[in-house]
């Protein structure tokens, strides 16, 4: 055991001396591993970045909220069967809340209606178009986390009295009020004046598709007064226990059938959506991107590994006499095997470390240049890359190291 330790530490010294003696050759060989590790690591950061962005978007939807909508979120092939469905009315929320309250041990907590429409918003000379105007009630914060940089959400009074107040999303506030606070200023939403009472904090975008900060929220009765034409509505219902999602869905379906007064023989003419629908649609896409990406970048690492294998073979060949001498002095097969494995692994570790440094610098640069680009550098990734480097060294060094350890000492000593 002690002997193994001494042999290993001697092999390390030799490996480092070998690298120093053949600097150019070692660098060129390590370059293959460096490029491979940079590619794999960047792919890894991109994948975990996508995952993080996805998780964030999902958490905005809420994993404990059911969406009662006219149509399912998932794409359906027989869209004509859904065409004639009745709209979801915001009044359903009140009825649902009454039913929930009268049900003992209900799996549902509260229903909140929302209505949406795209409009332009104006303040003085600044105008932003195609803004998502959302009407909802003062219960909205119960189902979704609302963060503010300034101000507050509207209260029950303002909802009931259909006050002309609004909350601006971060981007809207930023565009309309480049300097100064928007609070208590009046903005025009398709010609109607609204007093700004709050500004949301930055949320980012939903799956990179649309910005969650290009939004303006107003009390639902106010919304209905001005924008009800062509608007779309849904009812969001918060559930009590995430683990009983199925039960909650069944209960809500029952309640909705009562609300819509559907006779038993009729099919549902509404849909209960949840974030799971997105997950099951997007997960396969996300996974195949990850597999394809890692495969392609893995190829470059593979090419690097071939370089290592090649240079280790060269090293064994040109040091055949040294191998013979070591064997004459009592080196066993294991000793020689380990020595060359350590040499190839040392090259890979150095390459891996340099590659990681490059990858980190690149990530840092990308993060600063494009803040919205999903990229995520983590300790786990560093560890994985180093383990991959070590494995690359061991695997690519094995064949040459094995052939070195099998050399006949007589032939090796005679080699010139």
């Amino acid at each position: 055991m002690k002997r193994l330790v001494y042999e290993l530490s001697e092999s390390w010294k030799i490996a480092l001396a070998q690298m120093q003696a053949n600097k150019t050759r070692s660098m060129l060989t390590a370059l293959g591993v460096i490029i491979g590790i940079v590619a794999v690591t960047l792919m890894g950061t991109a994948i975990s970045g996508i995952q993080k962005g996805f998780d964030k978007s999902m958490s905005i939807l809420g994993d404990d909220v059911l969406y009662v909508s006219q149509f399912p979120w998932a794409r359906v092939p027989d869209w004509w069967n859904y065409r004639d469905r009745r709209e979801i009315k915001t009044q359903y929320a009140q009825t649902l809340n009454r039913l929930i309250d009268s049900t003992p041990n209900s799996n549902l907590i509260v229903a909140v209606p929302t209505s949406n429409i795209a409009k332009s918003v104006k303040y003085a000379d600044n105008q932003v178009t195609n803004i998502f105007i959302q009407g909802t009630t003062s219960d909205y914060p119960l189902i979704s986390v609302v963060d503010f940089t300034h101000g507050r959400f509207f209260n029950e009074m303002e909802t009931k009295s259909a006050a002309n107040v609004c909350l601006l999303g971060y981007d809207v506030a930023d565009a309309l009020f480049p300097s100064g606070s928007p609070i208590n200023k009046e903005v025009l939403i398709s010609g109607q004046a609204f007093k700004v009472i709050g500004v949301g904090s930055r949320q980012g975008s939903f799956l990179g598709l649309f910005s969650l900060d290009s939004i303006v929220m107003v009390p639902l009765p106010t919304f209905q007064r001005y924008f009800s034409a062509k608007s779309e509505s849904d009812v969001r219902v918060k559930i009590r226990d995430k683990s009983k999602l199925g039960d909650a869905k069944d209960e809500l379906t029952g309640l909705m059938r009562r609300v819509r007064a559907l006779p038993p023989e009729k099919k549902n003419d509404f849909d209960i959506n949840e974030q799971q629908a997105f997950k099951s649609t997007l997960d396969p896409v996300k996974n195949s991107i990850a597999i394809a990406g890692l495969f392609i970048t893995g190829l470059s690492l593979f090419v690097g590994a071939i370089g290592i294998m090649n240079i280790t073979f060269v090293s064994v060949k040109e040091r055949t006499k040294e191998i013979g001498t070591r064997k004459a002095l009592g080196a066993r097969r294991r000793t020689i095997l380990l020595q060359f494995l350590i040499e190839s692994t040392a090259l890979c570790i150095v390459g891996g470390a340099i590659g990681l440094t490059f990858a980190y610098a690149l990530c840092f640069g990308i993060e600063h240049a494009f803040p919205s680009f999903p990229i995520q550098f983590s300790l786990g990734l560093v560890l994985t890359s180093m383990i991959v480097s070590v494995l690359t060294g061991l695997i690519s060094g094995f064949a040459p190291a094995w052939s070195a350890s099998r050399l006949n000492p007589v032939t090796a000593l005679r080699y010139e």
Binding site: K327, G330, R332
Partner: protein, 251 residues
């Protein structure tokens, strides 16, 4: 007859009994050794001589446990070497045999100290003892001031001294020197031969392999090989002489 040369020998270190070695070279089978029998005692100074192709190198590989015979028996300190596998032979070479090569065979990137420590690493000796012992043998061969020099910073004679120190460091049973002066000028060669002589005087067993008669002349016993067999062994001649000498002195 010098009666001093008739003193008894020490115990047998190497006992070779009728070994042969043949290997394939292309379609032909080369018979390098055709039945060699040889006994070497502790504290002998022996030279193996012979022209090229006589089986001298093959015999040296056998003696050095670098190779195993095709047939016959080889005992080293009572242990049967002829049936050992690669790693067991490596163990014997490490503990029992000190090699000195014609081309020195030092590791170019290691210092003298590092080169001399190598057999101790393979023997599993801890770093402190290693350095202590390596430094001691380097001083013994007169290189106390060259310990941290690399081979390319040393002269040929100094390199061969490092190699001899490396051969000595594990206190081997035999020192096996293959043309140790072959790559040296004659003056340096004489110095190296004096060093080997000194080692012999201090009780080591030295085996020289050479084709130069004046190098072989340093040894106390000479074994001539030709065509894979021992043509002449001076010990046997001597033993015969001593035998008749003692008879005549008694009679």
């Amino acid at each position: 007859m010098d009666s001093n040369r008739c003193r008894p020998f020490g115990p047998i270190v190497i006992d070779i009994d009728n070994i042969t070695k043949h290997y394939a070279m292309g379609d032909e089978t080369v018979h390098a050794l055709r039945g060699v029998t040889l006994q070497i005692h502790r504290n002998e100074y022996l030279a193996v001589m012979g022209p090229s192709g006589s089986g001298k190198s093959t015999l040296m590989n056998m003696l050095g446990c670098l190779d195993t015979p095709s047939s016959g028996r080889y005992e080293f300190n009572g242990k049967d070497v002829s049936s050992m596998d690669g790693d067991e032979l490596a163990e014997i070479r490490n503990k029992e045999i000190g090699f000195v090569f014609q081309t020195f065979n030092l590791l170019p990137r290691s210092t003298s100290l590092g080169n001399v420590e190598l057999p101790l690493i393979y023997a599993g000796i801890d770093p402190e003892t290693r350095e202590e012992r390596a430094a001691q043998v380097l001083r013994d061969v007169g290189l106390g001031d060259r310990m941290h020099h690399k081979p390319n910073e040393l002269s040929g004679g100094q390199r061969q001294r490092v190699a001899i120190a490396r051969a000595l460091v594990n206190n081997p049973s035999i020192i096996l020197a293959d043309e140790p002066t072959g790559n040296l000028d004659s003056k340096t060669g004489q110095e190296i031969m004096a060093l080997l002589e000194d080692l012999y005087e201090r009780g080591n067993t030295v085996i020289l392999v050479t084709h130069e008669p004046d190098i072989a002349a340093h040894a106390r016993r000479t074994v001539h090989l030709r065509d894979g067999v021992i043509e002449r062994d001076s010990l046997l001649t001597l033993q015969a002489q001593c035998l008749s000498h003692s008879r005549s002195s008694v009679g």
